[in-house]
């Protein structure tokens, strides 16, 4: 396994983002709880009617319960333990006997726990409990009734046991006190602490003003209700009315200020009432202190329950209405968002996405939104668009945790073109299903826009590529559609258009293929028609390709051009015409042809040189005959009485010998000639016969004989006389060379001619020599077994035969020796 070098040189784990209030938080909370517990205990003691064992209002339990409702269960033990010293500090040394104190702590804790568990289990936690009727109802039943009820049974029993107070009295007082506290103080604590109140902003200042006015009024009325000493004489009248004056304020609070305001108002009233009641004032002052307090408690409880419910109901309705408004607003935003991307030009897509991310983020109140896309041939997910509330760190770095210590599932929406990733809500509220559904719609709009952009990008890229390819070709390329009209041209046509003196007209899309041909070949060229026909045949699918070469004289030199037409590879058809300047290639071809001819000539010359001896012999025979005849004639004449007939015969013989010598010279000259090859009809038998005559002396010298086996009905072939003679000569010389060794039996070369098919003839030269090496490259240049050979004879023979459209090959004979065969195309007589 490779070393872990899959990182840059400076690898280091990225830094964690700041975590707000991490380990310090629980400790701070615990301290706060303890302090509050202590203070609450003191207050509770202060509000104790003298001689009554339990207090009228017992804050500590509510404080504990509030703590448990606001913090995660795993920290509860910490807070309860933190409260224990406070409890001890508050209660030791008071009226309670020492052994009772821890037990009371246990009962208090149990009440708080019961309340918290019941509420958490069925209604949730945090301020949200008071925002709906159902959960408030559960709270009232659980925390307001059941918990105090059950714990009071136990507590009263303990107190009775240890202090001897009357059981039911203790129970009743404790129950009502705790119930009242749970119904008023507990909600207030939860909502105030749980909402992290900040100073109200401008839009809330009106509400704050209203709240202030309300509170003032409440205070005034409450003071007058509960604190003014009551004249016994005004008992009946002033008893109930001032108390009733509280109610409008409280209802006002319930309707306008929500559960928080309601519970705070109730708390205020309660404090005033209890304080007055404990001091013997208030509407129930005529009653004994205990009953006074009890009446106050009952009145307050009876007021609190429906008012809390009312506040919760109104809050719930308001929230629903708000949610609906919000939903409608969002729908509008969504539709504007969709419209924004319709027909959006490609360049604007990114900008629009960024703008809308910002709007979306502000609307949803999230901290950041990022779009990741797969980039670089699936190399990584890259954040391509992102928005964040400043000064947010870049997406990716871990974000601060939410305040309740837990974590929310952050929406992550995956579409085909990318991933939309949302940050946490600014107020730490978990994402609701409705919100997630909303952002899913948004994500689809973004996804579609991105997908369209990607598709357009890909299209542009491929179009740009095609255009680049077309323009970079050095040939002139024209693309025609199935009707022969020009669809596209590349820049190679510009020089042609510029130099088009004959004015074939401009060449643009829509021009016909005739225009193309006229421009390419020149308007005066006789080949235009043929070219157009060729192009049309490709378009129609008759021919798979059309190639056409022509020469065009320009001022300085002759140029060669080639037109290649191939079908256009698409369903609708069409053709691609490409025009290439092949001057160079043609020049090289011509040059190569010239060199081949030079070489053939050179080989012929050297072959002739090798035959010099036999040529000399050939010439010598007629010369000897001429000399002898002439000298004989001279003698006859010198002897007098010449026989004139004899002299005539002598002279005739001399002439014929001379002619024979002249033939030899002619044949030699023919072989040594260096002219361009011509194509004429030839009689192969006669041609071969001539060559054999040339070689007859040589054969004689070597002691070989050449046998001719000709097909008398051999059809004529078309070719160059000298070149074919060269081939036959080469083959015969090779055959004779093969039998050069001594003691080769049957020193015969046989030349066969025959028809080898309806339109071809075959010539075979058979020797009785050593045969050829199998698998050898006998037709390759410079391959020779002769010590002084050049090895070019057979390659040249092959190129000549192949240029004549034939084939040449060699086979070993079963009887020894080899046979060289070649075929040529027979010239069939034209059918009349």
């Amino acid at each position: 396994m490779r070393a872990t070098g899959s990182v840059g040189p400076a690898w280091g784990w990225p830094r964690l983002g700041p975590r707000a209030r991490t380990a310090a938080r629980p400790a701070a909370i615990a301290v706060a709880v303890a302090v509050a517990y202590y203070v609450g205990s003191r207050v509770g003691f202060a509000l104790t009617v003298p001689l009554m064992s339990p207090s009228m209002l017992w804050p500590p339990n509510a404080i504990l319960a509030a703590t448990l409702l606001l913090t995660p269960p795993r920290q509860w033990a910490l807070y309860l333990l933190a409260a224990f010293p406070a409890h001890l500090a508050a209660q030791l040394g008071t009226v309670w006997p020492t052994p009772l104190v821890p037990v009371l702590f246990v009962t208090n804790c149990s009440e708080a726990l019961m309340a918290a568990i019941l509420v958490r289990r069925f209604a949730g936690h945090g301020p949200a409990v008071f925002h709906s009727l159902r959960t408030v109802g559960i709270f009232i039943v659980g925390a307001g009734v059941l918990a105090p009820l059950v714990s009071s049974y136990v507590a009263a029993a303990v107190v009775t046991l240890l202090r001897g107070d009357p059981y039911w009295l203790v129970w009743r007082t404790r129950f009502f006190a705790n119930s009242l506290t749970a119904l008023t103080l507990l909600p207030a604590l939860v909502m105030v602490v749980g909402r992290r109140w900040s100073w109200p902003g401008r839009e809330n200042q009106r509400k704050a003003l209203e709240a202030a006015v309300l509170w003032l009024g409440l205070g005034v009325v409450g003071w007058s209700v509960f604190e003014e000493p009551i004249e016994p004489s005004h008992l009946d009248v002033l008893l109930t009315v001032p108390l009733a004056f509280i109610v409008p304020f409280l209802v006002w609070a319930a309707v306008r200020l929500g559960p928080t305001g309601t519970s705070l108002s109730l708390l205020t009233v309660e404090v005033l009432a209890v304080w007055g009641g404990v001091a013997g004032r208030g509407p129930f002052a005529i009653l004994p202190p205990v009953e006074n307090v009890l009446s106050l408690q009952v009145v307050l409880i009876v007021l609190a329950v429906p008012l809390m419910c009312l506040a919760a109901l109104i809050e719930e309705r308001q929230r629903t209405r708000q949610a609906l408004e919000e939903r409608l607003r969002f729908e509008e935003v969504l539709s504007r968002l969709s419209r924004a991307f319709v027909h959006l030009p490609r360049e604007d897509v990114d900008r629009t996405i960024d703008a809308w991310l910002r709007r979306l983020g502000e609307h949803l109140g999230v901290r950041h939104i990022t779009i990741f896309q797969l980039c670089g041939a699936a190399k990584s997910f890259v954040p391509t668009h992102s928005w964040a509330v400043p000064p947010e760190p870049a997406p990716g770095l871990p974000l601060p945790a939410t305040d309740d210590g837990g974590s929310h599932d952050l929406p992550l929406l995956i579409t085909d073109s990318g991933v939309l990733s949302f940050g946490a809500n600014a107020d730490g509220v978990p994402w609701s299903a409705a919100q997630i559904a909303q952002v899913r719609l948004v994500a689809e709009v973004f996804g579609n826009a991105l997908a369209r952009k990607q598709a357009e990008d890909a299209l542009r890229l491929s179009e740009a590529m095609n255009a680049a390819i077309l323009s970079s070709l050095t040939s002139s390329v024209a693309v025609l559609d199935q009707r022969g009209r020009v669809v596209a041209l590349n820049e190679g046509w510009s020089p042609l258009l510029a130099g088009d003196a004959a004015g074939a007209g401009g060449l643009g899309p829509g021009a016909s293929c005739g225009d193309v041909c006229r421009l390419a070949l020149g308007s005066d060229s006789p080949h235009v028609e043929a070219a157009v026909t060729g192009i049309q045949s490709v378009i129609d699918g008759i021919e798979p390709i059309f190639l056409f070469e022509w020469a065009r004289d320009s001022a300085s030199l002759e140029r060669w051009f080639e037109m290649a037409v191939v079908p256009l590879n698409r369903a609708e058809g069409g053709a691609v015409v490409s025009l290439t300047d092949v001057t160079r290639r043609k020049q090289m071809e011509i040059e190569a042809q010239r060199m081949r001819q030079e070489l053939a000539h050179f080989t012929r010359v050297s072959a002739m040189g090798e035959l010099a001896a036999s040529l000399a012999h050939e010439l010598n025979q007629p010369l000897a005959g001429i000399l002898a005849n002439a000298q004989a004639a001279q003698r006859f004449l010198a002897a007098g009485r010449p026989d004139l007939d004899e002299i005539r015969a002598i002279l005739a013989d001399i002439v014929s010998d001379d002619r024979r010598a002249g033939e030899v010279i002619r044949r030699l000259r023919e072989m040594l000639r260096k002219t361009a090859p011509s194509r004429v009809p030839l009689d192969l038998n006669a041609l071969i016969g001539d060559v054999v005559k040339m070689l007859s002396s040589d054969a004689l010298i070597r002691g070989l004989s050449v046998v001719l086996d000709f097909d008398p009905k051999l059809p004529p072939v078309t070719g160059d006389r000298v070149e074919l003679q060269q081939v036959v000569l080469n083959l015969l010389v090779n055959a004779m060379d093969a039998m050069a060794g001594p003691a080769v039996p049957g020193r015969i070369v046989v030349v066969h001619t025959a028809c080898s098919g309806p339109d071809s003839v075959q010539v075979s030269v058979q020797d009785a020599g050593t045969g050829v090496v199998a698998g050898g490259n006998i037709f390759e240049p410079f391959y020779t077994t002769k010590a002084d050979g050049l090895g070019m004879g057979l390659p040249i023979a092959r190129s000549i035969i192949e240029a004549h459209g034939g084939r040449i090959w060699v086979e070993n004979n079963s009887t020894g020796g080899a046979t060289f065969h070649f075929t040529l195309v027979a010239t069939l007589p034209s059918v009349p």
Binding site: Q621, N629, A632, A633, R635
Partner: protein, 127 residues
């Protein structure tokens, strides 16, 4: 003494050479018998042995040298003149060592031929 006309045999596959040489010998007042191949000559030999033999070297079938060897093998002593277009010294050596009396290259002058015939016949006549 009356010189009987000498009989000269000419063996050459070339028709024109035979014809011209026959004419030439007639002009020399020599009798000439011409043969187209060595085999023809050997067949006709017993009936009429010539006084001199003019022999072409390069012939199909029996070459000049072959004829000469046959004659030697048969113990027939006929002075032989080889005529040929081949001028190579080795050939000349070979012929002379095979018993050729004279070696002439074509084309040859008539006086040269006559003189050669006289010489070889004269040499053969002397014991």
């Amino acid at each position: 003494m009356t010189a009987a006309r000498l009989l000269v045999a000419v063996v050459d596959d070339e028709e024109s050479v035979r014809t011209s040489l026959r004419r030439l010998f007639r002009a020399f007042e020599l009798d000439a018998a011409t043969f187209a191949s060595g085999q023809e000559f050997l067949d006709a030999l017993p009936s009429k042995p010539p006084d001199c033999l003019v022999l072409d070297l390069q012939m199909p079938g029996l070459s000049g040298l072959d004829v000469q060897r046959r004659l030697a093998a048969g113990g027939i002593r006929v002075p032989t003149i080889i005529i040929t277009a081949d001028d190579a010294p080795e050939t000349r050596e070979r012929c002379l060592s095979a018993g050729t009396a004279a070696y002439l290259c074509k084309p040859f002058d008539d006086c040269t031929l006559l003189a050669t015939i006289a010489r070889v016949v004269g040499a053969a006549a002397d014991p």
